[in-house]
Subunit: 207 residues, 2 copies
């Protein structure tokens, strides 16, 4: 299975590296980071660059695409090269997926009209601008469109897809290989459970 992860300026690193690590551990899975041109692409903090090893033109027909989110998403909405690649690649994919605000880019490519989808909790209602039906869930599978909630949700999404792409035991083996037995120190990873005031603090960190 050939997986492509597009990188654009000011993406959030964990959005991309979570699903990457899950899928790259799987047998028969090749993950390629792509961008307009090969080379380093800098993340939302300005301190980490991941290297794209191929251009969009090099990989027009991946089996899976995973579009990460990040503060750079809003600017990327008008990146016609990226949006055009997503739209054309989608015609070939088994799954077209996103993490966090990456779903807005699927929307900009015209893929979410009438489709249930999710994104980071802070911008969930923006999905309606693209005709999507916003859903507050961790991972939303609607046919071949699969969207995940904010940042860390891409790990859960990738394991879910891997169980279908390979088999349950392979996905379980990858989960154990990355020792994904999470023990978050607080019960506040969702706005539904976060104590009062934490959502405002979180928004101040991401905007």
């Amino acid at each position: 299975m050939r997986v492509a992860i597009p990188l654009y300026p000011r993406f959030t690193a964990l959005d991309a590296v979570g699903p990457y690590t899950v899928m790259a551990f799987a047998p028969d899975c090749t993950v390629t980071f792509v961008a307009a041109e090969p080379g380093p692409v800098t993340d939302d903090q300005g301190t980490l660059a991941l290297t794209a090893t191929a251009s969009y033109a090099d990989l027009p027909d991946p089996d899976v695409i995973v579009v990460p989110g990040g503060p750079g998403t809003l600017e990327a909405l008008s990146d016609e090269v990226l949006i055009g690649w997503i739209r054309r690649a989608h015609a070939h994919t088994r799954w077209t997926t996103s993490v966090c605000s990456g779903s807005l880019l699927l929307g900009a490519a015209g893929l979410l009209d009438g489709v249930k989808a999710t994104t980071h909790w802070a911008i969930l209602e923006m999905l309606a601008q693209f005709g999507a039906e916003p859903v507050s869930e961790r991972v939303v599978v609607e046919g071949k469109i699969v969207t995940a909630a904010g940042v860390s949700a891409g790990i859960d999404m990738a394991l879910t897809l891997l169980a279908q792409a390979s088999d349950v035991e392979t996905a379980q083996a990858v989960q154990l290989a990355i020792e994904y037995d999470p023990r978050p120190p607080f019960d506040c990873g969702s706005p539904k459970t976060a104590p009062e005031g934490v959502a405002e603090r979180a928004l101040s960190l991401i905007t």
Copy 2:
């Protein structure tokens, strides 16, 4: 707080990017990827390069170091430049930390003698070679030495430390910002819970 994450060939990307993303979202935290020389360093899959922006010599006295693991750890045990930097930096740190097999590098630097520590489940007993007391826990805090279990455990470790470095509400805000409300699809992220046969499959993926 100045955090340094050393990169060496064949590290596991999520080991580094999990704690990075948590800490980089925190206010007053600067995370720098370091290596023997600045430049791209390729991960365990050979398909992802993260760029180190500073050399070890550029950052001799960070407040926190986070040493990632990966298949390259065994070779890195004899990397005297890396091990020497860990040993000297440790004299200045508030916390000296590791994810996954990164703890073996703390051991090689002589930091684990008589210290409780953890690592990836598959190599837990190797810690004893360095005089450490292997402990099967997600995150082990022993004074300023903090070790995390395999790969994904670095996210939990970073949130735990952030609550001490800043305050609980800041750590909660970061946890909500990265929507860390994990929903692993299977209960198999630990060898204690994985169904029979999954550990063998997992070992075949990581060795």
